[in-house]
């Protein structure tokens, strides 16, 4: 009825960009020879895609529903553990759970499927099933703690969710749960990204982008649906939203559960990327990192969160690494030592917060439809977003 035709062009451009990106990623894995550049680029891309997903899920909650929640790392950990536990091969259990008699769960979904469908198909489908389980576990926990926690407002909600994530981390390290979580030891040997391939076609970089792309597209669809509008109404004015018949608790719970589901999926991807998983790194510091990305990208902007995630990961793992090396362009600089990167990083963040207080994108989106209009020279109006990446 409105601007459907224009939107279709936008969608087309978006799809083409996405296809080009995916082809490039597959080439990166298989054709382009490894060198010192790709060795740095590939992990940044993988981790960036994973962080994009988690930050978008956090943005759904913090930016679009206006619930200031800091439990994201906890839900990622739940997802990561759920993924790892269900995908450790049977004969590796004795080695992984060496202090806990080989653990409680004695099967592996990817392995079981591999026996039926062949190795590569089994690994791909099995890991996707495990990723779904990871999301569902995180969502189920969110539904449980949401009942008491979502009655709280603003800062109190943040404190409660932060506390929940910390408690969960402590519980996962408890040796009483060892047969499942392996206590404070690493979980390893599960299906990692390098196992994702079709025949000899490696998909290690493609896979996280694929899963994150689908997940982000789903979140975008949700946000642009009637429910997304209800979330925004709650963010803008809770009292008015309630008076217009929007059930606050139900919609907050929905947003919380969906956000946690995708945080769980992100956690599972992170576990695949890292090849080992342990509860220790899922501290509040990780949630702050995510929050930082959301703020830098722009609260209430999906594309902002994605850009922010890639920039943050690239700076953290690559571009600012030279600051830790003790030398700069061949000269020895004594204060360029471990941790100096973090100092520079903090300064950059301060500059962003001071001068771009709305973040890189504000609450706008990269819009392929808008791009299409600009190319054709007609005036831009009311930009509809396309799944941006």
């Amino acid at each position: 009825m409105l601007t459907e035709k224009k939107d279709k062009t936008g969608l087309f451009i978006g799809a083409v960009c996405l296809a080009v990106l995916y082809v490039f990623l597959i080439l990166l894995d298989n054709v382009i020879p490894q060198n010192s550049f790709t060795l740095l680029l590939v992990p940044v891309l993988k981790k960036g895609a994973i962080y994009s997903l988690v930050c978008v899920s956090m943005n759904l909650l913090n930016g679009f529903t206006g619930l200031f929640s800091l439990g994201q790392a906890g839900f990622m950990m739940l997802g990561g553990y759920a993924y790892a536990i269900f995908s450790i091969p049977k004969d590796q259990h004795a080695a992984v759970y060496q202090y806990f008699d080989g653990g409680l769960i004695q099967f592996s979904i990817p392995e079981a499927l591999s026996n039926v469908l062949g190795e590569s198909a089994g690994a791909i489908i099995g890991s996707i099933i495990c990723i779904m389980i990871a999301g569902i576990v995180a969502a189920a926990f969110a539904a449980l703690i949401g009942i008491p926690v979502l009655r709280l407002k603003s800062d109190y909600l943040a404190i409660a969710t932060l506390g929940f994530a910390e408690i969960l981390r402590a519980i996962f390290q408890w040796s009483g749960l060892g047969p499942i979580t392996n206590g404070s030891n690493l979980l390893r040997k599960y299906t990692s990204l390098s196992a994702i391939k079709i025949g000899s076609l490696k998909l290690a970089t493609f896979f996280p982008f694929f899963i994150a792309g689908i997940s982000i597209a789903l979140i975008v669809l949700l946000i642009n649906s009637s429910y997304g509008r209800a979330f925004k109404a709650i963010r803008d004015d809770e009292i008015a939203a309630e008076a217009m018949g929007i059930n606050l608790f139900r919609h907050k719970m929905l947003s919380f559960v969906i956000s946690s589901f995708f945080a769980g999926v992100g956690g599972a991807l992170l576990a695949m990327f890292q090849t080992t998983i342990q509860a220790t790194p899922f501290k509040s510091a990780m949630t702050y990192e995510l929050l930082l990305i959301v703020v830098i990208g722009g609260i209430g902007s999906i594309s902002g969160s994605c850009i922010g995630a890639f920039l943050f990961i690239a700076c953290n793992e690559w571009w600012l690494r030279f600051l830790d090396n003790g030398s700069f362009m061949g000269m020895s600089v004594p204060f360029f030592r471990d941790g100096f990167r973090k100092v520079v990083f903090s300064v950059i963040i301060m500059v962003i917060v001071l001068f771009f207080s709305k973040g890189i994108m504000g609450d706008r989106e990269i819009s392929f439809a808008g791009l299409a209009r600009r190319i054709r020279g007609s005036k831009p109006s009311g930009g509809k977003e396309a799944p941006a990446k």
């Binding site: 649906s225 009637s226 008015a240 217009m244």
Partner: protein, 283 residues
């Protein structure tokens, strides 16, 4: 009053701590009428609204809507000990019904706010469209996967029709808060209409309007009453507006009813004049 009663309040008392904000207020609002609730500042008008719409749980009393009890309450425990209102045990055995505001809206009672509460980040169109969410036949999956595109299209078409009827279609893509004040009021009413109400509660719709705008507003209120077959309850300060459009008026002061009647009766009522103009001690 031969018309069926849409909304009735029975002995509503609202006590905050030791303060009785509304004392034993009873009202009957017949179908199709414009009923006004007036009173000086702090008389408890908005509190009465909040008791009807589920924002507050009244301490005592019953609200009926279309012959169905929608709010019922009586003081218990500590509240009973401190209770200062009347009829403390009138509803003692009754089951307490304390709905949330969205449940009330779902029944068909929509409201506007004294201080305009539009959704700031949304356009005029989205503000009205979002109010349609409540009655949409969909769940989160069918909405996300666009499985029910007809429903979404119906919502959009109805919203557009509503905006056209209200003369707001020119502003459909403007941010709601960028509209002039009078139009924001009108948009808030349009948003309330989008929930398909039978009863519309207007909280000081003419607040901050000049005489010309007030005149237009009273025409507008009559229009929407006739067009959508509404029953209207309004709170107002502007006497011109109230006397011009109200079919029946309730006057409260310090939480208690001091008069009720037709506009002409209220205008000459001694108690009402005293309440509004103040009465000297030695009179």
């Amino acid at each position: 009053m031969s018309r069926p009663v849409v909304l009735s309040l029975e002995n509503i008392t609202m006590q905050f701590g030791g303060v009785v904000a509304i004392n034993n207020l009873s009202m009957e609002i017949p179908e199709g009428n414009i009923t006004a609730l007036i009173g000086p500042n702090g008389a408890g008008k908005t509190t009465a609204f909040n008791c009807i719409t589920g924002v507050y749980q009244p301490t005592n009393g019953i609200v009926r809507f279309m012959d169905k009890v929608i709010v019922a309450s009586h003081p218990t425990g500590k509240d009973l000990k401190n209770y200062k209102g009347w009829n403390a045990d009138a509803y003692a055995g009754m089951k307490i019904i304390d709905p949330t505001p969205d449940q009330i809206t779902r029944l068909g009672i929509a409201r506007t706010f004294q201080n305009i509460r539009l959704w700031k980040s949304m356009t005029v169109f989205e503000n009205v469209l979002t109010a349609k969410h409540m009655r949409a036949k969909q769940n989160v999956f069918s909405a996300t996967f666009r499985a029910n595109a007809k429903e979404e299209k119906r919502m959009r078409d109805e919203t557009m029709a509503l905006l056209e009827e209200q003369g707001l279609d020119r502003f459909r893509d403007e941010l709601a808060t960028s509209l002039p004040y009078g139009l924001q009021r009108r948009l808030e009413i349009a948003r309330a209409l989008a929930t398909d109400p039978k009863l519309l509660l207007l909280d000081e719709p003419a607040a901050g309007m000049n005489p010309q705008e007030t005149l237009e507003l009273s025409e507008f209120i009559k229009q929407i009453r006739d067009k959508y077959g509404l029953t209207i309850l309004l709170i107002e300060h502007h006497m011109d507006l109230v006397m011009g459009i109200a079919d029946y008026i309730y006057v409260i002061d310090f939480g208690s009813e001091i008069a009720q009647g037709l506009p002409a009766e209220i205008q000459s009522n001694r108690k009402v004049i005293d309440a509004y103009l103040g009465v000297s001690e030695d009179e």
